[in-house]
């Protein structure tokens, strides 16, 4: 049946919404955090997987978004959604600025630069503790005053769906083609008429905006923010999640976030051993299944709905032989 995979996804989403209230508070929290990571992973994959810009500053923008919203709400009493929007707007602008600054930088230079940026942000937030409360943690006004996490579940769900829809539209449009072209060969893209500079800046701006969205939600959910949100540890986990899932597609990135987050919780009994374990999985994935562990599954899934001609997108990672040769 055409589009079967879409119907299946819709059904799963509907079930998730309907039965959410059956989840224990603990697992609901896990689901919410998974969706938080989902937004981050998919937006990072837009930057690193589609446009080829391996930025280590993604969590820094989540952090900036979080603190911006928290502080604006605290100082001026504005409604939380407005605060979040302000955080998103600021990070879009800042992200675009970083994208502009990084225009001439490739691969490792870009990574190191964004790493430097990320650390400066973290250090500044930690040190200026009269404003940010530093490592002690900033108290953030929560979205809802309930003890139940259910409203947060619905909000996280809505934010994730909206994010994926928006990013999905971008990715399937000509912009998506241009971003991938930039990743494949910037010079050829330029020669083909793609305004490379504009799209690199745009990719950074858009991705950073989504990171801020996730970060500000996180602040208003947990109720506390620390500078470590923008730190290397969180960023590393994000990279692990996205690469294991598959960094070149939105669904596999989100899938990676969900799977790793749930496994982290399931394996909680193993304490410290979880992180080195995922480190090994990451290394093995990069070494032997570079396009991600979930990618082959996702491709099979998509084929359910489009059996005749496997779509061009799906063919991206399958090694092929030229029939004429």
């Amino acid at each position: 049946m055409r589009g079967l995979h879409v119907y299946i996804l819709l059904a799963v989403a509907a079930l998730a919404l309907l039965f959410a209230d059956r989840l224990s508070s603990y697992w609901m929290h896990v689901a919410i955090i998974a969706m938080f990571y989902g937004i981050l992973a998919s937006s990072w994959s837009l930057l690193a997987g589609y446009a080829g810009l391996f930025s280590l500053g993604h969590m820094a923008f989540a952090s900036i978004g979080g603190y911006t919203s928290a502080l604006l709400v605290q100082w001026y009493g504005i409604p939380i959604p407005v605060g979040m929007a302000a955080g998103v707007a600021l990070c879009c602008a800042l992200g675009g600025l970083i994208g502009w600054v990084c225009l001439r930088m490739s691969g490792p230079y870009l990574a190191i630069f964004t790493l430097g940026f990320s650390e400066i942000v973290r250090i500044t937030f930690a040190t200026e503790d009269d404003i940010t409360a530093g490592m002690a943690g900033l108290h953030v006004e929560r979205l809802f005053n309930t003890t139940s996490r259910l409203p947060y579940f619905y909000v996280a769900f809505a934010l994730l769906v909206v994010s994926l829809l928006l990013m999905g539209v971008i990715v399937r449009s000509r912009w998506g083609l241009f971003l991938r072209a930039i990743r494949e060969d910037e010079q050829a893209a330029s020669a083909s008429g793609v305004a490379v500079a504009r799209f690199r800046i745009l990719a950074f701006a858009i991705a950073s905006g989504f990171a801020a969205l996730a970060g500000s939600f996180y602040g208003h959910y947990i109720g506390i923010l620390t500078p470590s949100l923008g730190g290397l540890d969180f960023m590393a986990v994000l990279v692990v999640m996205t690469v294991i899932g598959g960094m070149e597609r939105l669904p596999t990135a989100v899938g990676g976030a969900f799977v790793v987050e749930f496994l982290l919780e399931l394996l909680r009994g193993y304490g410290q051993w979880r992180l080195p374990l995922f480190g090994i999985i990451l290394l093995l994935t990069m070494r032997f299944a570079r396009n991600g562990l979930l990618t082959p599954l996702w491709l099979k899934f998509v084929q359910l709905g489009e059996p005749r001609a496997v779509t061009a997108m799906a063919l991206r990672d399958v090694p092929q032989k030229d029939p004429a040769q």
Partner: protein, 241 residues
Amino acid sequence: MSAGAELIRGAGLVKRFGGIVANDAVEFTVVEGDLVGLIGPNGSGKTTLISMLTGHLMPDGGEVVVRGRGMRGQAAHLYAAMGVARTFQLTQLFGRMTVLENLLVPGLTRPGSTWRAVVQQARSTLDFLKLGHLEQLHAKNLSGGQQKLLELGRCMMLEPAILFLDEPFAGVHPHLRDELITRIQELHEAGRTFVVVDHDMESILRLSKRLVVMARGRKIADGPPAVVREDQAVLAAYAGS
């Protein structure tokens, strides 16, 4: 073909790399309907000239004028938007995108283009290049000659006024090379202007209506092939290289 409007003009172009002067005050004008063969010994600065004329390199001196418009400081994609297309010495394609997608990219950069129209244009371009059956293949899986053809196709999608081809015949099977020459001629008949760089003298002479010779960063000859071939300076340049 009678001379037409001036399409692109490089005036006094200079480019230095470290201590080397790759292009030394080069004057180069192309008019509508030209089919120029640009030749010269290795290292004479041909690719550098093309890169400056297509926006991929900023000149250290002189300027580039496209259709009467000064292009100082403009990025390469703006040249493409103005109808200046180029291929690269080592084919540069979007390797992990399909053959079709490789053509969709340039087509979709044009303002007012719709997916449907561009896909149609892409498919007919592929048919013209006899690559239609390879539509869903990744570009990196094509043979060398097919990749050259695809790069030509990528240029064509821009509906360019002028195409700069950098060594289109390098390493290409003779049969495919004849294909390529035929396609270029067909496109030229249909009104496109070409500047072709190559070392394959036979192909260049078959194609060119005008021959430009460079040596050591300078233009040393510019005229009809019959005349240029007898030019002493040209012979000396090749003999000495």
